[in-house]
Amino acid sequence: MNFSGRGQWGALGTGGFVLLVLLVFLVIPVAKVIYVAFQHPDTGAFTLVNFIDFFNTSLFRESFYNSLYVAAMSVVVASLIAIPLAYFTTRFRFGAAALIQTLGVIPLIMPPFVGAVAMQMIFGANGTINLLLDEYFGFTLPFMEGLNGVILVEAIHYFPFILINLSASLANIDRSVEESAQNLGSYGFRLFRRIVFPLAMPGYAAGAALVFLKVFDDLGTPLLLNVNNMLAPQAYLRISSIGITDPMGYVISVILVGFSLFSLWVSYFVTRGKDYASLEKGGGGLGKRELGPWGRLGAWAVVLLILLIVLSPHIGLLLLSFGTIWSFSVLPDAYTLEHYREVFSTAMPYITNTLIYAGLAALLDVVLATAIAYIVWRTGLPGRQILDYLGTAAVAVPGVVLGIGYLRVFHDFQVPLVDEPLASWWVIIVVALMIRRLPYALRACTAALQQVSVTLEEAALNLGAGRFRTVRRIVVPLMAGGIMAGFVTSFATAAVELSATIMLVAAESDAPVAYGIYVYMQTAAGRGPGAALGVLAVLLVGVATYFSHRFVERSREVAEADRRLAVAQGA
């Protein structure tokens, strides 16, 4: 593509603005906190001695290998869960595809603390499944023990990244490609392996990269299973102890960020020089085939089994929210509506705040992500990939580091008109959520753009459309599925974020649901209401996701109808 004149300046301006946002709200606050990693503990002089200490410490080396192993294995297990779900719902005429896609997003929403309890109640050493196994078969399975437990839980938790991005990619493949392959005699698994899956690679790669990065940097699951010998919990435990001034926690944070960038660079290296774009657009995804009665039965069985496994923590959550006492038993002792009554009478502001915060953050995320993806893949700006690296690096920054950084940098800045420090103004929570969830939107939008052929834009430009008009009328509509996938993942995960939020909440009236759950989950009596609040959060995100899917499907149907009409008129 040729870049000249106004277009280049527009890109430069946009790129500069995005860079400014990332510098102010990510780089500077984080640097303000983790600079101690480069400070000699004795003298305060600049040094790399802490990094030498890191590699000399067997505990940290072990933690590094463990994190790597868990991240890689989680990608494998998550793929096994996600690929069948994505394939069946996009490839075949399958009743309730939107519903299945929605249910497939739910595992991403694991409310803090109470999600952990629900998981223990179902999969724990004395959870429902093991109590039943012990009673009827006399043995138990250590689902939630050690590194393999972490892999299982991480895969169940994060496979939606693959599901969402892969589905978006599959839906973007034109059916004519598949039809050609079928005409040439390729069917069944071979068709999937040789044609469909390779074409959907950008989506799968985006999802798998996210799972890898997220699991490598994830803190919640190892803490839930009390596995300490991994990098993220080591960093967290060392940063959040009272009065500890050991710099190793920050050193580990730097290593986490560095390694995440390295893996991103590797993935660039691998996908470079491959073209996933297709010219054919508007075919509305793969041709949906009818399944025979046995095939239908089999497909349903697989889908339902997977959904049952991945949703069991949420079934546990539901039981907790309706149960009275649930302790060392297969099911709660009795059921009540009392927890919901309590939540509805006190906690509604939390719900409203969450909708506003997560909604705004996700919206800003997809706008930024689309801009970054476009600048990186469609312009020749020098150093443009820095934007992508920075945006993705946020995945490795522990929430508590970002929270402390914001307090440190923005507390002395009074917001004009509001007359409050920026660090205690509610908008800062939105900004923190936006930065923390940007990597999800960024990978989704990048994958979507990779599937759009440049020639379509060139055609628009040749026909006299300006750069901005081309982006708005051609690129964004063609990326819609990916943008939606980015919005859904960012929104769903932002809705239950706690670690940065808890640092930044400056008034209870500004607090989101995750904070409300934390407050409940501090007392024995609060488990039920905490679970009820968790269920509300899940429902909230679930409903939002369902309508986004319906929206995408609807617009695709409209486009399809338009195309048919055009063809008919042409004939």
Binding site: D42, G44, N126, I242, I244, F328, S424, A506, A507, R527
Partner: protein, 448 residues
């Protein structure tokens, strides 16, 4: 002075005293108070409502943050402080804030509060933070769990070291919870450095898990994840009050831990903050602690007359035989945290494996005594208990300083790096745990 004149003086003094003690209205102390607290809603709501109804027009904002997040919040917002009161359990959190000059000194006007509860001083000797309630440590257990797994109810710390508790105990780490720290330190002082650590490692070997936050322990017992938890009393009481099948007991040597309150330096509403502290310490405020969902021990001895079921620490109803040395505890505070993490938290798998092997060998020996094998087992326990440093070193200010160094000025220089020391300790304990396990397996093979 005439009698008549004297009367006037007395009357004036009385009138003054009355005016002084009469509650101020909200106009006089301001209409807003911001409290940063780690306490649960059940506690904060009760105090918020009582205080607001005592001072009509007053609004109390309770900012609930984990203790660590609360400390960081106050540190980072100090330049433009918006908080009036810091209200939490862990004395160490207050020590950190005090050290940073972020707390204001306050002289309590209320009288009738003793110097000590059990062996712990109630207030900060320097006058920055005040104890307003006490809590004792003990065990809570899940009755269904113990019945199903046929595990006896524990009575003393030593019980938890028995083989029958292997894999059934949960506790938090001293580095994660200031109250757990005090328990660990009390046992160390009560039994002595070597014996104390030996007991903690025996209990450590029996741990199912070391939880990341202190509430993780009662939560795990309530849900039946593990059977016995080392917890602070109100977690046990309030869990039971919420209907969970759990019981709580104090061992004969427990620790009493004060929960504290302090005014933040440069508080925007200092009068309201002072009024709140006075309210919390008044008989009226102390009575609120008896609420079944709160159940903390008041620091006013007279309140216990109203709650006969609550153990009275001022009458010796909670055994606290250890003469707790606050200075000693402070001198090695971070060192003890780090040592516990290196030896138990981070190497729990190795410790569990060694403990399990030793328990098995002991069980086999009980059935079939063998002198040689018994020696191996005894040596194994010694290896598990072995410490990388002795008590004198733990109290050596230069050495302990490595763990709490704070360079106040850019020109300050301190020596030694925590990471280096921890690596040495780690090598030491891992080698010992592995050898202990081998010895136990050897002993077992000899008996079989």
């Amino acid at each position: 002075m005439s009698v008549r004149g004297m009367r006037w003086v007395v009357l004036a003094a009385l009138g003054f005293a009355q005016a002084w003690s009469a509650p101020l209205s909200a106009q006089e102390i301001g209409d807003k108070l911001v409290v940063v607290t780690s306490f649960p809603k059940d506690l904060t709501n009760v105090f918020k409502q009582a205080f607001e109804s005592k001072y009509p027009g007053m609004t109390v904002e309770m900012l609930k943050k984990k203790t660590t997040a609360g400390v960081k919040y106050i540190q980072e917002t100090a330049s433009n402080n918006t908080s009036d009161i810091f209200w939490a359990s862990a004395p160490d959190a207050f020590e950190v804030l005090k050290g940073d000059g972020l707390l204001a000194k306050y002289e309590v006007r209320a009288t009738g509060i003793p110097e000590k509860v059990g062996v712990f001083p109630i207030n900060d000797p320097d006058g920055y933070y005040k104890g307003f309630a006490a809590s004792g440590y003990g065990f809570m257990w899940n009755t269904r769990y113990l019945k199903a797994k046929k595990v006896p109810e524990p009575a003393e710390w030593e019980d938890l070291a028995e083989a029958v508790y292997f894999g059934h105990v949960g506790m938090s780490a001293p580095s994660r919870s200031g109250t757990t720290h005090l328990t660990v330190e009390t046992v160390l002082q009560g039994l002595g450095w070597e014996q104390g650590w030996a007991l903690w490692k025996r209990i450590g070997g029996n741990l199912k898990t070391v939880t990341e936050r202190s509430f993780g322990v009662p939560s795990g017992v309530n849900s039946g994840q593990f059977g016995v938890g080392i917890v602070i009393d109100f977690f046990g009481f309030s869990s039971k009050a919420s209907g969970y099948p759990v019981e709580f007991r104090y061992p004969s040597t427990t620790t009493l831990v004060p929960a504290n309150i302090a005014i933040v330096a440069n508080a925007p509403h200092p009068e309201a903050a002072a009024a709140f502290i006075e309210f919390v310490l008044s008989p009226e405020g102390q009575r609120l602690l008896l609420d079944p969902k709160i159940r903390r021990l008041p620091v006013r001895p007279e309140i216990y007359a109203e709650a006969p079921d609550l153990p009275n620490p001022f009458e010796g109803e909670i055994g606290a035989t250890v003469a707790f040395d606050v200075k000693k505890s402070k001198a090695r505070y971070n060192l003890v945290n780090s040592l516990f993490d290196v030896m138990i938290t981070y190497r729990l798998d190795d410790l569990q494996a060694a403990t399990k092997a030793l328990h098995e060998a002991e069980a086999a020996l009980a059935a079939e005594p063998d002198e040689e094998a018994a020696k191996l087992v005894a040596r194994g326990w010694e290896l598990v208990a072995a410490l990388p440093i002795d008590e004198a070193k733990s109290l050596d200010p230069d050495f302990a300083g490595i763990f709490k160094k704070r360079r106040k000025k850019a020109t300050d220089v301190v020596t030694g790096r925590q990471a280096e020391v921890e690596q040495e300790w780690d090598d030491f304990v891992r080698a010992n745990y592995a050898e202990a396990r081998e010895l136990a397996e050897k002993a077992l093979a000899m008996v079989r």
